[in-house]
Point group: C2
Chain length 347, copies 2
């Protein structure tokens, strides 16, 4: 057990032990001292095997994601903020109002409990921003060397408002416009900078943020929206390719319309990355009919997260299943799906 | 990358690569070739960021658990069966009819894809037994050495039937009887046997099984049930202690009423374990008023999983927060909550 004693001058009691995952006394203590103080709410309180909530009836959405981001803390965010915002955004782009989250922690033996406390506090803050409640959870512990600090799974339940039409890639059709809610690549570059010790000036912060309030408002202003996605793993290129293939359409985007920070461009050139494939954690791509574009843009630009929203392209029909980038110099190139791995463990 | 080539004479293409977690082409291929063939259902089909389902309105239950069991396959089950049955049972003991599951895989680079296929098939079979659907999922990949083959998270949504009263530890009161649905300790011993290479004769199989159908029937026959739990991590002793503390009651159980296989007894003596603390994955503990005991026992014993159901004790009030075991020789001992860790990573 030497690896959990006094590694950094701190006390063995301040680190996660295998017994914290036992279901016994230490597990109870962890729940009471780390999780309940930050997540406390009336539904979580009873600590039964499941949390019970009221549903008004109608359509609900269920989603899940596990988070294995490395490092746990990065410029602009941390694994906890990511785990809440990511799952909230998956519900929001599905047209659902996110309501409740579950959280499952997999902790590595020896993890400082202070790290866990910081992550839990960040989850609670982000849940507060998004207006969702964490109502049930689970903690497992694996031996030193069997995880990388911690992994988090969140699942989320959301309510699809009555009258909200179906959203989805299948509904995208020629003539639709493509709106992107802001600049791309910050999350991927923030992770890379943290990992490689890059000293960017100014620093690039991850864009990780819950988008649900903006997207709820958007659907009221532009009820004809066909599909929305948050372009995380695989980036904008992957999202657009999935739409093009599923809907059997061409998606044409204009390079000059894409907002990309100069530092993001710089890092991409240095590492041979393409910003189209870099992960974003606070952006939405939206396909909608042209007549709804003005109202949608105006609404998005009123929100902090959508200030740079712009139409970046349109849907056509000439080459089904294809994404085409019109370059600044007037050329065209096909933007394929990501093959291989550009930057692993970004979420 | 040498560690993923030809480790066991097989092909690098047959193993999980980091790129399977990229969100790109290989991730898509994994979904289409491994998950969709076994989990396919109309709600999962669209593969959007969230799955949409209809809810009749009323009370719903949400639960989650991550599964880190070691080894992945053990006598009587595997991590996939555990991940479905465990979450189904958490819903069932909360009085909910389990409906939908999400699944999140964390895979270790180099994992043979055939192992993943076997686990996914086992999940699909167990979901079929329980009558639940896996409607949304996620896959992440971490580097070799950053996980132990695979970890699985499942979250589950269930519907609490109209008119079903609240269940929970807070409702347990003096005079109630405690029913246990069968023998204890098999899951823990099956894991230990697999890990230590014990050659038990006859073999002890894990009891991992979905209990939802039996428990749904039970609540119809015995609507006055106060609380139910599946005594997994920490075993029967931990469940009863949680009830005793939460309800402020004494729980007295009789050693002679506990069903324990002779091989389970033998392994416990050999390793210094107490079967009261060993994990079960297919048992329910039920607190109910005495007048409902006959109907409840008759119902439970009609089900394969409840054939050995018996009253093992009762609730009294003399020492709030305490569990007392009346031994076979006529003595009494206090059964405390688990301190430390008896057997890690059993679920």
């Amino acid at each position: 057990m030497q690896h959990i004693t006094n590694m950094e001058g701190d006390n063995m009691e301040d680190r996660i032990l295998m017994a914290h995952g036992s279901g016994g006394k230490l597990a109870k203590q962890l729940t009471e001292e780390v999780f309940l103080p930050v997540f406390d709410n009336p539904l979580l309180g009873p600590l039964e095997d499941a949390a019970v909530f009221h549903s008004p009836g109608g359509k609900l959405a269920l989603t899940t994601d596990s988070y294995v981001v490395k490092p746990l803390f990065f410029p602009g965010g941390d694994i906890g903020r990511l785990a809440v915002a990511g799952t909230v955004n998956d519900l929001a782009v599905s047209g659902a109002v996110p309501l409740y989250l579950s959280v499952g922690f997999i902790l590595e033996e020896g993890l400082p409990i202070n790290i866990l406390k910081k992550v839990a506090a960040s989850m609670a803050r982000t849940a507060g921003e998004a207006g969702v409640k964490i109502i049930t959870g689970d903690t497992k512990v694996v031996e030193k060397g069997m995880a990388d600090g911690m992994y988090i799974n969140t699942a989320g339940v959301g309510l699809i408002p009555q009258g909200q039409g179906e959203l989805g890639a299948r509904r995208v059709r020629p003539g639709d416009r493509i709106i992107l809610s802001g600049s791309i690549g910050q999350h991927g570059v923030a992770i890379l900078a943290a990992r490689e010790g890059l000293d960017l000036s100014p620093a690039v912060l991850s864009d990780v943020t819950p988008l649900n309030k903006m997207l709820e408002d958007l659907l009221k202003e532009a009820p004809g929206v066909r599909a929305m996605r948050d372009p995380t793993r695989g980036g904008l290129a992957t999202t657009l390719n999935e739409w093009a293939v599923t809907a059997g359409v061409t998606i044409r985007i204009k390079e000059e319309k894409l907002a990309i920070l100069p530092q993001v461009h710089g890092v991409c050139e240095l590492f041979g990355f393409d910003p189209l494939y870099l992960a974003n954690e606070g952006k939405a791509v939206i396909a909608l009919p042209p007549e709804e574009v003005p109202a949608a843009l105006e609404l998005l630009q009123r929100h902090a997260q959508g200030r740079e929203a712009a139409v970046i392209g349109e849907v056509t029909g000439e080459r089904p299943g294809t994404v085409i980038l019109e370059t600044k110099v007037g050329g065209e190139r096909i933007v394929d799906m990501l093959t291989g791995e550009q930057l692993p463990r970004i979420c």
